[in-house]
């Protein structure tokens, strides 16, 4: 099992979700986050005071999948999020030790789907 974390541009979320659906990956957690990559942020100015730390709005997806779904998920995220411009985001993949469905207490591969 793998745990996939992707940070993408907020306006790409709908496309990424659609691509994931097409690959039959339905379980996903999405959150709104602030972050900064190589493209740096855009500093805001309030009454002529320039803000020091400039972060940009990003969207974070978290997906837990069985090993044979990893490539599908990565393809879907890239397919939906890639624009070719700087700031498209990143995908991180981590080994997942365990997964438990709270309702049935099923574990592992059974629980994850």
């Amino acid at each position: 099992m793998k745990y996939i974390i992707a940070v993408i541009q907020p306006d790409r979320l709908d496309d990424v979700l659609q691509k994931l659906e097409e690959k039959e990956i339905h379980l996903v957690t999405v959150s709104s986050v602030m972050g900064r990559g190589r493209q740096k942020g855009i500093p805001a100015v309030y009454r002529s005071h320039k803000e020091a730390g400039s972060l940009l709005k990003k969207t974070k997806l978290e997906i837990a999948v069985n090993d044979d779904y990893v490539n599908h998920a990565v393809d879907a995220i890239i397919g939906g999020a890639q624009t070719g411009e700087i700031g498209d985001g990143k995908i991180f993949i981590i080994d997942l030790n365990e997964c438990i469905r709270i309702r049935t207490q099923e574990t592992g591969n059974l629980a994850i789907g």
């Binding site: 009454r47 002529s48 005071h49």
Partner: protein
């Protein structure tokens, strides 16, 4: 530790109560012989209203309706106008403390006003020196439903009183912008009551009362239509005293987060603008041409100052900002306030453009240069804008708008400009010095700042045990 805090809080409550009790005692001493008439005055008010008003032939219904509506408009300026304007500009963890301070001022000063404030400000002059009103109108004794032959010739005296009450409320509320995010609530309450008594009320008397030393009725002849000196310079100088005594917020300037809710600030600025029509046009105290003229120049002054600030933003920062345009509009409203009953359209343009440029420069360059933390620019906008407005009145005033006013510099009377400058200086010194003393006094007795820890977790939680927003359900 907790016990100690409790005892401290007790002291605060006691101080506030003593202050109110003190005023009551003063009233009793002063008005002991008048106690019977006071009771008599209350009785008819309780009787059918028609009977009380019937002989008042001088009351003009149109004027009364306008002044009462204006009073309600000015009330709206403090809560929610100023509350949301300031509330949107602070960090999430302090927004409730701002709303609370504005709301508490509304409650505290309204009571203070009917108990002693109105009498100190507008009551019969003590000793004919034009310095302070006596307490003979305390508890609105003798302030009835008949017109007053100086202050309110065509409206019930109480209509004038309640209109003025809203001015007394918003003025200390403006100072909140200076000490936002670090002043203890208890100290804030005590300071506000002291400031109303020893700064606002005397100054209102000097400028507006019959026989006041600075005003047009037997004084130096300064023009202040709706409160440029009494409200804005006054609050602005108190703001400056506050920032000098309180010091900076932790992390200022690099580590202070941006305004947490600019849409709130826009909402607040819009409500301020809306309420300002009551503030300025209502100050005509009549539903007449002068009120219409004040309404027009108020609107134009705000509009041109808003655009001016946006243009300044564009020049210096390459982008016109939302916070900029609303700050500019407020600066324009501040500046047009003393001038609103004396200037024409050309004057409104002059006052508004000047406000946009001067206040912008003070906020963008003066503040960073001197490293003072005027959190929400109470001094930069109200102090500087008020000073400019009072001086601009001496430049742009014309008797063609108001025959009871005077001509300014551009209309061949440099003398008025000199009077305005003198009165600005007197107001600045008086307000700064007495506010400084009061802040020091409160600091010595009960402390002004919250602890570092409390400042870090925010005043909403530390002072009020509440949170404005729930992030989790």
């Amino acid at each position: 530790m907790k016990r100690l805090m409790k005892i401290k809080n007790y002291k605060v409550l006691l101080t506030a109560l003593l202050l109110l009790a003190g005023s009551a005692v003063l009233f009793a001493a002063d008005a002991a012989p008048a106690a019977a008439p006071a009771a008599a005055a209350v009785a008819p008010a309780a009787a059918p209203a028609a009977a009380a008003i019937a002989p008042a032939s001088k009351v003009n219904t149109g004027d009364t309706a306008w002044v009462l509506a204006s009073a309600a408009l000015v009330m709206l300026m403090t809560v929610p106008g100023l509350a949301f304007f300031y509330g949107g500009l602070v960090r999430k963890k302090n927004v409730l403390s701002i709303l609370m301070q504005c709301f508490a001022i509304m409650c505290l000063i309204s009571i203070h006003w009917v108990v002693i404030g109105y009498s100190l400000s507008f009551g019969p002059d003590v000793g004919g020196k034009g310095l302070i009103g006596s307490l003979s109108w305390a508890f609105l004794n003798g302030v009835g439903l008949e017109p007053h032959d100086f202050y309110a010739t065509t409206i019930p005296h109480q209509a004038f009183m309640i209109f003025q009450c809203m001015f007394a409320v918003i003025t200390p509320a403006l100072i909140i912008g200076a000490f936002a995010e670090r002043l203890k609530f208890s100290s804030f309450c005590v300071f506000t009551l002291l400031w109303a008594t020893f700064v606002y009320d005397p100054l209102a008397h000097w400028v507006w009362a019959n026989g006041g030393i600075l005003g047009t009725a037997g004084g130096m002849g300064a023009l202040d239509f709706a409160g440029g000196t009494v409200v804005h310079i006054n609050a602005g100088m108190a703001a400056l005293a506050a920032v000098l005594i309180l010091g900076k917020r932790k992390g200022f300037p690099e580590k202070i987060s941006p305004p947490h809710n600019l849409p709130f600030a826009v909402l607040g600025a819009g409500l301020l603008w809306f309420g300002w029509f009551g503030f300025n046009a209502g100050s005509a105290l009549s539903a007449n041409g002068l009120a219409a003229s004040a309404f027009v120049v108020t609107h134009v002054g705000a509009a041109i100052a808003g655009i001016t600030w946006a243009v300044m933003d564009y020049i210096f920062n390459k982008r016109p900002t939302v916070l900029g345009i609303i700050t500019g509009a407020v600066a324009g409203l501040v500046a047009i306030t003393p001038a609103s009953g004396f200037v024409n359209l050309a004057g409104a343009f002059g006052v508004g453009i000047g406000a946009g440029v001067i206040c912008y420069l003070s906020v963008a360059f003066l503040k960073p240069r001197f490293h003072y933390d005027d959190s929400l620019d109470a001094f930069g906008v109200h102090g500087i804008g008020g000073i400019w407005g009072a001086i601009a009145t001496g430049i742009f005033a014309t008797t063609s708008v108001n025959k009871d006013g005077a001509n300014g510099l551009l209309y061949g009377n440099p003398g008025l400009l000199w009077i305005q400058i003198k009165v600005v200086l007197i107001t600045m010194v008086f307000s700064f010095v007495v506010s400084f003393i009061l802040f020091k006094l409160v600091d010595a007795v009960m402390g002004l700042r919250v602890s570092d820890h409390e400042e870090r977790i925010g005043l909403d939680l530390s002072e009020h045990r509440e949170a404005a927003y729930t992030i989790l359900e």
